[in-house]
């Protein structure tokens, strides 16, 4: 390349480079990998965060296991909002996440739900009557809500009796869908899913006491290399703020008192 060409190239590129960098200094983007069950909730939190911080939030949702596998292989995320405790802790152990950033941002509440507004009377009675054909649960092997649902059946002494009527969705969303489409009468789903519906489409439910199952702790971590970025710190702080906690609780999750 001749010196004249190089100079021309520089004259062309430098302003472009500056233009590309300039807006980044003012408003940054925080890239959040969010477990499918919390994707809706995050969408509701987004306006408050973007308004308060001036930063932008970009969410990608998938199952916790899928997101974990993607993060391990270098997926471009800053924060991981998981549906369990295991996967974020693994990322910490493996050096992919900042250990000091992990905290429980929400605890899932399990409900026994039917689209039929008369089927569930606020108690587990319908499970004992066993007049239904299919009870949908999230896959207990992969989904925390599924594992919690089986805990409940064991606590009620119904695990063996009802084993033949269980159908598994890959996650609570699919368990929900099995009932919404009329293919199953009952499902163990998340309270947040029920509350996301219009009031006249909420069917009937039994809110399962948390003492009947292992806690469904949803843990957030900041991923390595992102911890120092202002937008990421702003988001981590926002998630712990009283305002965010209040909103999360209103969406159907239990929230620990502020530390």
């Amino acid at each position: 390349m001749s010196p004249i060409d190089a100079r021309r190239l520089a004259r062309l590129c430098v302003p472009l480079l500056l233009a590309a960098l300039a807006p980044g200094a003012a408003a940054e983007t925080v890239r959040v990998a969010v477990a499918a069950n919390f994707a809706d909730a995050l969408e509701r939190l987004r306006p408050a965060f973007e308004r308060d911080s001036g930063h932008e939030l970009r969410a990608s949702s998938a199952s916790t296991g899928t997101l974990y596998a993607q993060i391990r292989r270098g997926a471009p995320f800053d924060v991981f909002l998981a549906a369990d405790r295991e996967r974020p802790e693994r990322l910490v152990d493996e050096g992919f996440a900042d250990p000091s950033s992990a905290f429980v941002y929400a605890r899932g509440r399990l409900v026994l739900w039917s689209a039929d507004s008369a089927l569930v009377d606020g108690t587990p009675a319908v499970l004992h009557r066993a007049t239904f054909r299919h009870l949908a649960v999230a896959n207990p092997k992969t989904a925390p809500y599924g594992a919690a649902a089986l805990d409940v059946l064991r606590e009620l002494g119904l695990a063996d009796e009802l084993a033949g009527r269980l159908v598994q969705g890959e996650n609570v969303a699919q368990a929900w869908h099995f009932v919404a489409s009329g293919n199953a009468e009952l499902a163990f789903v998340a309270l947040s899913q029920v509350l996301a519906q219009d009031p006249d489409e909420r069917g009937s439910r039994w809110l399962v006491p948390e003492s009947l199952h292992r806690p469904i702790e949803q843990v957030a971590v900041v991923l390595k290399d992102a911890a120092e970025r202002p937008a990421v710190r702003a988001f981590a702080a926002f998630l712990r703020s009283p305002e965010a906690r209040r909103m999360i609780a209103g969406l159907g999750y239990a929230v620990d008192p502020a530390p």
Partner: protein
């Protein structure tokens, strides 16, 4: 291999075999019709048969979940017949797989039937062969490589089915949990060892299946060269 994996593998093979048999019975007349008809329905039917090739399996799965449900078109009929609904059952998976793998049966057969052309059949007719004879004694033997390709591709494609089963299966061991879903579960549960195991099995199976199709096509070319 653990008992679970064995159950899953044998269920998968049973599903693929049943689907292949049903599709040969349904797909052969359909392919024959498509290869010979001059009807104006030819193009729309052809497009319909090809649809599962381009649709995401989740689309098919979603429609089937709704259609098979108690208020769905199919569900209403099956419920009235006293069969109950098809979702979460092996029979439901067979119906879904038949739709899903339809192009993999029809297209190789259709191509093979078209390639024969009308001449051998006309010759057979002048020699006094009836329509049934012409089909079984002339067309089918000439279309043999197409039949082999249809069988192998249909079987292999059904073994690899994932999205549809995920949508309507309900993941019931021994009834609807097939290999591809089991692999997905292992990955989700971070059991990468088991996932590798099953995935490698599926990979080598698919490779061998395609190799078979290739050999069968090569033989036909060889036979044609020798005969021509």
């Amino acid at each position: 291999m653990s008992g679970d994996a064995l159950t899953t593998a044998s269920l998968t093979i049973r599903l693929a075999a049943t689907t292949t048999v049903v599709l040969l019975l349904v797909g052969t007349p359909l392919a024959w019709w498509l290869a010979h008809t001059r009807s104006r329905w030819h193009r729309p039917v052809n497009a319909l048969v090809t649809l599962p090739l381009v649709l995401p399996p989740t689309v098919l799965g979603f429609y089937l979940l709704v259609a098979f449900g108690p208020e769905g078109l199919v569900g209403a009929v099956t419920t009235r017949l006293g069969i109950g609904t098809l979702n979460f059952t092996f029979a439901g998976l067979v119906v879904a797989s038949v739709l899903y793998s339809l192009p993999f049966t029809v297209q190789p057969l259709q191509a093979a039937f078209s390639a024969i052309g009308s001449r051998p059949l006309e010759v057979a007719a002048t020699l006094g062969a009836g329509p049934v004879d012409r089909f079984f004694r002339v067309a089918l033997p000439l279309a043999r490589p197409g039949v082999v390709a249809a069988i192998v591709l249909t079987f292999a494609h059904t073994v690899g089915e994932f999205g549809v089963v995920l949508m309507i299966g309900g993941n019931i061991p021994g009834e609807t949990r097939v290999l591809s879903v089991a692999i997905y579960d292992h990955v989700e549960a971070l059991e990468y060892g088991q996932a590798h195991w099953l995935a490698a099995m599926l990979l080598s199976f698919s490779f061998v299946a395609l190799l078979l199709v290739n050999f069968s096509a090569r033989r036909r070319a060889g036979a044609a060269a020798a005969g021509g």
